[in-house]
């Protein structure tokens, strides 16, 4: 596929308020591409696999920037850079898995430019789709990744429905584990959506990875104090330590009392089109001590129901082993 060194002709809007951005998006009626840090966007445009006639750059909207403490937790503006999320003392103190997840995104350069909102709303990395093939996710009638000869090492082992792409977001797993809330603005006002419901699997919508629709702008993420200070674990397994997407990741939070797990949330990334909650593991852990024996007893539950493709069987033991590692003290 030809890559082009010049940008296509795009009308650029640079609003300074969310209201203006929403109004422009509504006026453009779905033709305006919402631009955050651009780390996902510019790849699409450069490869000419997707194009936009107009772009709404959110960089100048101050209210979308920064991290603040609220009565019930913290609020993170969607345009806050991943670097700031990873280094913020408040996040490091209360929600270390979010800091760790943000610090494992791509590379330092990308984290300086990429935003939390962009990381959450980014498109999948399935290369058949990104290459511009007319697959299901692109509105077509086929999946090129799920065939006997496909290269599908990075693809889904859970929740596939025609499309087998996975969510590439590292911060999504942490935010689902922390039971965060996404705040979305549009012409009708503001709506708040639990992080778990923000992401869409292909069974529900095969062409969108999130509930964001034309005119919707993710303005901030609210992380409640529910899991503040809880024991936690984040690990991302990738082919490279830097500038790579997860093969499998895990974000886990646990409330314990004298070493016994009272409640927990375990979420895996890169195994499904949405962050994959390990609810069977969570149920089994209730009342169990956090130790090696418990880890071994629940690890198998993490992969129950997995359906592997030709080249991603390794994800099954990887998921199980990440659960084991999360439970080791």
């Amino acid at each position: 596929m030809t890559a082009h060194d010049v940008m296509p002709d795009i009308e650029l809007f640079q609003p300074v308020t969310v209201e203006d951005a929403s109004a422009i998006a509504a006026r453009l009626n779905g033709q305006g591409w919402i631009l955050a840090g651009g780390q996902d966007t510019y790849g699409w445009l450069k490869d000419r696999a997707k194009s936009a006639s107009a772009m709404i750059d959110l960089a100048a909207i101050e209210e979308l920037q920064g991290i603040s403490e609220t009565a019930s937790g913290i609020s993170i503006g969607a345009m806050t850079t991943l670097r700031d999320v990873s280094r913020n003392p408040l996040i490091i103190e209360r929600f270390p898995i979010l800091s760790q997840a943000a610090s494992r995104v791509a590379s330092p350069q990308i984290r300086n430019q990429g935003t939390l909102g962009g990381n959450l709303a980014q498109d999948t990395r399935c290369w058949y789709y990104r290459r511009g093939l007319s697959c299901y996710r692109a509105g077509g009638n086929l999946c090129y990744a799920d065939t006997p000869t496909s290269m599908n090492r990075e693809h889904a082992i859970f929740g596939a429905s025609r499309c087998v792409a996975v969510s590439p977001s590292d911060t999504a797993t942490a935010l689902v584990a922390l039971d965060a809330t996404m705040v979305i603005a549009n012409g009708d006002g503001e709506k708040r959506v639990p992080a778990e419901k923000f992401f869409l699997g292909p069974a529900v919508n095969i062409t969108h990875m999130t509930i964001l629709r034309p005119g919707d702008i993710l303005t901030r993420v609210e992380v409640p104090d529910t899991w503040a200070g809880a024991e936690s674990y984040f690990e991302k397994v990738a082919d490279r330590d830097v500038w790579d997407f997860a093969l499998v990741s895990i974000a886990a939070v646990m409330k314990t009392n004298a070493g016994v797990i009272r409640d927990s949330r375990f979420v895996c990334g890169a195994v499904e089109c949405v962050p994959h909650r390990l609810t069977a593991v969570e149920r089994a852990l209730r009342g169990q001590p956090r130790n090696e024996q418990t880890a071994d007893s629940v690890a198998g539950l993490a992969s129950a129901g997995a359906r592997t493709l030709n080249h991603n069987q390794y994800k099954v033991p990887l998921v199980e082993n990440l659960v084991r590692r999360a439970l080791r003290t």
């Binding site: 696999a49 093939l133 007319s134 509105g139 009638n141 799920d146 429905s161 069974a203 919508n205």
Partner: protein, 252 residues
């Protein structure tokens, strides 16, 4: 307005994806225009006195036929809802419900066809020369089914068979509990199958809306009642049917 949906792939080829869903609005507009025109015509026509539902009850549909009618009706409604709502932007996990309803419809249609052809006979549904005189001669009364009812049945049959055949072709290449997805159909063939599946869907949207409209019309409501309870009254029978062409078998 596009007729079909195309997409240019990475090699610059145009790939046929299916029917353009702009046609849905055309079909809905035409259907509701037809309904409004019919409503206006019927409002200006002289009202014929409606026969009483009291008196002797005559069997029009037996229980087995009624059951299958409603199974097929519900299946078609579920198929239309699960097929069209995602197109309208209403997100939910529709695919499994869709193919389960499709399989139920397929089974019901097969049983209905076998029963109609081999056990009941299809003569009551064949369009005859006498039927064709109905619209032009008010003295001609139908047998068990009027020309309009036969026309609706045959149109519905054609569309349902087309939607089933194309639906089964799509079902055969997707993941199911019994087999895994295959690439047995090429991208171009899939495009044509989706065009035919979409065309039959659009036809069913229009016909189903008309069918429901006529089922709710006051002068036709006794037919709807007979599809629920099985009977029509002797008065309804003699006012709407020719005893020489249809004699109900038994008293309900």
């Amino acid at each position: 307005m596009d007729i079909v949906r195309f997409r240019e792939d990475v090699w610059g080829r145009e790939v046929l994806l299916g029917i353009s869903w702009d046609w849905l609005w055309v079909v809905l507009a035409l259907t509701f225009t037809a309904i409004i025109v019919h409503l206006l015509i019927m409002a200006f026509l002289r009202k014929e006195p409606r026969p009483s539902a009291a008196g002797k009850r005559l069997q029009r549909h037996d229980g087995f036929d009624r059951l299958f009618h409603w199974v097929m009706a519900i299946s078609v409604l579920v198929l239309l809802a699960t097929g069209i709502m995602p197109v309208l932007g209403i997100d939910f996990a529709w695919l499994t419900i869709h193919w389960v309803a499709g399989l139920i419809l397929t089974a019901a249609v097969i049983i209905h066809v076998v029963r109609a052809v081999f056990f009941q006979g299809i003569s009551s549904m064949v369009v005859t020369g006498e039927d064709l005189r109905e619209p032009f001669d008010t003295t001609v009364k139908p047998g068990k089914y009027s020309l309009a009812q036969k026309g609706m049945h045959h149109a519905m049959t054609g569309l349902v068979l087309l939607v089933i055949v194309t639906g089964l072709a799509l079902f055969a290449v997707m993941d199911t509990p019994w087999w895994e997805r295959s690439n047995a159909l090429s991208e171009a063939t899939l495009g044509w199958v989706f065009v035919l599946h979409g065309l039959s869907t659009l036809g069913l949207v229009g016909l189903t809306a008309l069918h429901v409209y006529f089922a709710l019309r006051p002068e036709k409501r006794f037919y709807t009642r007979s599809m629920v309870s099985g009977w029509i009254s002797e008065g309804e029978y003699s006012a709407n049917h020719d005893p020489a062409r249809w004699m109900p078998d038994e008293t309900a």
